[in-house]
Symmetry: C2
Subunit: 579 residues, 2 copies
């Protein structure tokens, strides 16, 4: 136990952490492990867990945010209208203050799939978060006073922001959403103190826009040609080509590199954008100070199936084929867990973690995904049983890693789809998709799974099936407990080693939030999660969509018609502890 | 203990109860005691109470409903859009089915003070409840299938329904809301099997409309003149004179009488309606089969302060001045607890239960409230420090009675107001008030109280002060525990004998719901309550009202500007039990 604690403490120091009792960013640490060294709540006693207190956010759209804990205060951001609440942990969760940014209502009509927000970040006495209407705001963590508010884009062009920012070296890193509306993706860095824009790196276009320069050394030779962000597209298509950035960012202080992925190319109809469509569905490694690219790797060149590449990068030191490597583990939407050398961008392994028929593997010599031509969309023809479906094997919902078990805990879905591609044309601020989609359960009939994945052995240790997509984040603790939530209103604790169910609690609404844990001012360990079903997967409930319209929510509704039989809308914070 | 239990069981039998483990109507029994014979949860062990499960209603307007328990199912009705949920108590609160009546959206604009619903009732395999848009519906309690739906009025005339129906002898009893919009009040009986209207008794107008006939024998001689519902009004003013019925009904099977009260006269400006304005702010005793009136008593003749008379009647057998009497106890909005002979309508005592300066007492020889002329509104002049304010000493929030302590537990407010009456004119479906009101805290500065009232001694046994109006119902149990909720997010248990705080829990949103208790299929005792702040008192939060507009919510906002600092909107069911 002591050895483990030391190891955890060291890892925390490496990744810029201060205190295991805090939870200052959605993933807790820069390595994005979502692992806590707290062990008061353990696999032995978690069955005694009970609700300590709660808080209603007053907003009932999908709640994807992680509660943030800094000092004796918890911070929660709601979906649109993006209210920030500060709750007093020293006084049982009473409301300290709230900050209401009052984003433009029109932003709701632009957001593709519910009006979610994935949370705030704490840094240097400030709480920083994004509003749906393209602003980043910083408020005083103590008083709730607005320090600055910066406009980053334009909802009239289809842009929104749903992601949680990350703060690295006094830079606030923010990306945009809108890949289904012909938005051109970017990552922008703002100065933490002033809110001024420091740099912006586009995902498409000329190298100058993508911040590709002399430092750029991608691992695969085919990626080294200049201006691929232009030449892998039809003329000017890169201007409306997607590659938005609405997911997760990691940071390695030793290498001084940030890592993040880009979204799908637009439109979905692939015939309208011949070429590799760089740098959509790609991972970038960049310098946080300047934004300059150090390497990039495209996960799904010329994406055919909306396989956004925005998922989390978990930064680990693993023994791969006998040698210790600094790796980046990416559970990808296209169905593979990638293990990559994070210094170079080399793919060390890529293994399916569920049923995949859209591709046949990744060629490790070229790094290239090997497509299954049978599942290529064809204009005007229905192509059936494409697996995984558009949300991929796993969407935004972040995994957790435990150094005690060496396992990655992947909340994900098991969905396939039938598609028909159709012509579409670009009108700013409106859907730019060109694909009729109808989703359904994958093999076995269940729609979700929590998979414990061994990235060294490249295989699953165990898998738990769930009725609905597991659209919540996962949390792993030094007590050997893994927490996650389900869309049918269960907050669950399972044994980190075996997956054995240890405890579950029926919450008010379905859960798509990110569980976190912290040490309260009273010295006790707490576990917190937001309920409030919604997001793309739960839009049938949060958006009151008609279950008879199988194309609603870009075809997701077809797979979720029974969700309203299990849950209504919600938006409540649940905080648990031992008695 | 045994003697008490027998007494309770007998009372239950008298009042038509079947099983202390159920809770089939908001007040539990016909006597409206809100007392349960369950004692597993007691003053000794209530501190161990913990959340067993929860359910989000998906609606975040004010939640005033009592959860209804019949068999192994719990039924919850939401505010507009009045969704009925059936929750499976045998399976930890999973959703069995829901029924969506889809009331007209325009009803929301007509409701004076939030779009609340006070709950459903179970009878003969049916769940019956009302929708905001003037319908009563009955659904099959097992399947959720709609059995009938009857339209009772017209939202275009300003009518809505917010009250919980009562079923007596196969009649469903329903009243209308809209006293602030010139609505003419009534109580209507529908046939439980078919939904057909059996009778309707208006509160104003000719005796034929009021169902006053040969059986009518009011106690006080001045009430025996024919057609007072016309002659105590300016010509035709009774047609738009209020007297709506949105509160509580009790029933005495032995006397075969139902009891209910009527609302304030309209408009609030009293100069526009000289006369007693009968039968507004009155209690009626009627035959449930025919609706014919047996007696009536006007609590606040020519009401000056919006003192609706719709509160609950608690039917008890008490020793009054040495003799056992069948009494009706009415904690009234005008500030007095009335103890009345429920066979005759005689007022036996009327005692203030808080600070009252609008009247000087009730003349027991005439039954007439003695007004303080100094607090009479005058056209164009601000009259200050009127106590209690328009919501009265106690509004709709229902009290509980314990036969074990002989105490009535009154959740109520401590508010005063400044008013200025102004001319108003009637336009159908629009506000018809004629009074500018600004409310504030009463003496002592706190705005709410839970008072334990001894109706025999006619004095308070103890009082607990609360920051905000106690707008929730109360619940008393044979475990000597009294439960109630606060608008600042506390669900509280106190000792029934002493008021000693025993336990409290921080819920998600403020509580204005009615707590209930029941025995689950597992034999355990549970306590359930809805959170979700709102109603007239909490409209500043549920209706997003501007705190700078002190006239908002008919002047209530002025007294509640700090409520948003304590709670956001909500709508979650909380179900507690011992470990």
């Amino acid at each position: 136990m002591l050895a483990i604690a030391v190891l955890v403490a060291t890892a925390a120091a490496i990744h810029g952490e201060t205190d295991d009792g805090q939870w200052i960013r959605p993933a807790r640490d820069y390595a994005s492990t979502r692992f806590s060294g707290l062990s008061q709540i353990s696999s032995d006693n978690v069955k005694q867990l009970r609700l300590a207190w709660s808080f209603s956010t007053g907003v009932t759209r999908g709640q994807e945010a992680a509660p943030i804990v800094a000092g004796d205060t918890m911070y929660v951001v709601t979906p649109y209208p993006n209210i920030l609440y500060a709750l007093d942990l020293g006084h049982g969760g009473t409301l300290k203050w709230k900050y209401e940014p009052r984003p433009a209502a029109a932003a709701q009509g632009v957001a593709c799939c519910d009006v979610v927000n994935r949370g705030a970040v704490y840094a240097d006495g400030r709480i920083v978060f994004n509003t749906l209407d393209m602003h980043t705001v910083a408020v005083d963590a103590r008083t709730g006073r607005e320090l600055w508010k910066t406009k980053l884009g334009d909802i009239n062009r289809g842009e929104t922001i749903t992601m949680a920012p990350l703060v690295v070296k006094n830079k606030v890193l923010v990306g945009n959403s809108g890949g289904e509306l012909g938005v051109r993706g970017w990552l922008t860095a703002l100065d933490l103190a002033s809110g001024r824009i420091a740099w912006r790196a586009y995902s498409t276009g000329p190298d100058a826009d993508v911040l590709i320069g002399p430092s750029f050394k991608p691992f695969y030779a085919s990626d080294r040609t200049p201006n691929l962000g232009v030449s892998t597209w039809p003329p000017d298509a890169w201007r409306i080509g997607g590659g938005t950035m609405w997911g997760w960012i990691s940071y390695d202080p030793a290498l001084d590199l940030i890592y993040y992925g880009t979204g799908n190319p637009g439109p979905w109809n692939p015939d309208q954008r011949p070429g590799d469509n760089k740098w959509t569905t790609a991972i970038f490694a960049r310098r946080p100070d300047t934004g300059e690219a150090v390497w990039a790797y495209q996960l799904s060149p010329h994406d055919l199936h909306d396989y956004d590449g925005i998922n989390e990068q978990i930064l680990l030191d693993l023994d791969v084929k006998g040698a210790r490597r600094k790796v980046l583990v990416r559970p990808e939407r296209n169905g593979y867990v990638y293990v990559m050398d994070r210094a170079t961008g080399e793919v060390l392994s890529a293994t399916p973690y569920g049923y995949v028929n859209t591709s046949k593997g990744v060629d490790l010599s070229t790094g290239r995904l090997q497509l299954n031509e049978e599942k290529t969309p064809v204009l005007g023809k229905v192509v059936r049983d494409i697996c995984p479906a558009a949300p991929g094997m796993k969407d935004w919902q972040p995994a957790a890693w435990s150094p005690r078990t060496g396992l990655l805990y992947l909340p994900h879905q098991n969905l396939c789809m039938d598609v028909e591609s159709v012509e579409t044309s670009y009108i700013a601020g409106t859907p730019f998709v060109g694909m009729n989609v109808r989703m359904k359960a994958g093999p076995g009939g269940h729609r979700g799974e929590l998979t414990a994945w061994d990235p060294v052995a490249a295989k699953a240790a165990w898998t738990l099936k769930e009725r609905f997509p597991v659209w919540s984040g996962a949390l792993a603790t030094a007590g050997d407990v893994v927490f996650y939530g389900t869309m049918d209103r269960w907050f669950k604790a399972v044994h980190a080693k075996t997956g054995e169910p240890l405890w579950q609690f029926q919450t008010g609404s379905g859960i798509i939030g990110q569980p976190v844990t912290y040490r309260g001012p009273d010295g006790k360990q707490y576990v917190a999660v937001l309920d409030g079903v919604g997001g793309w997967a739960g839009a049938i409930v949060s958006g009151d969509l008609d279950p008879r319209d199988s194309s609603a929510a870009l075809g997701f509704v077809a797979a979720m018609t029974d969700l309203p039989q299990y849950t209504a809308k919600g938006g409540t914070l649940w905080v648990f502890s031992l008695p």
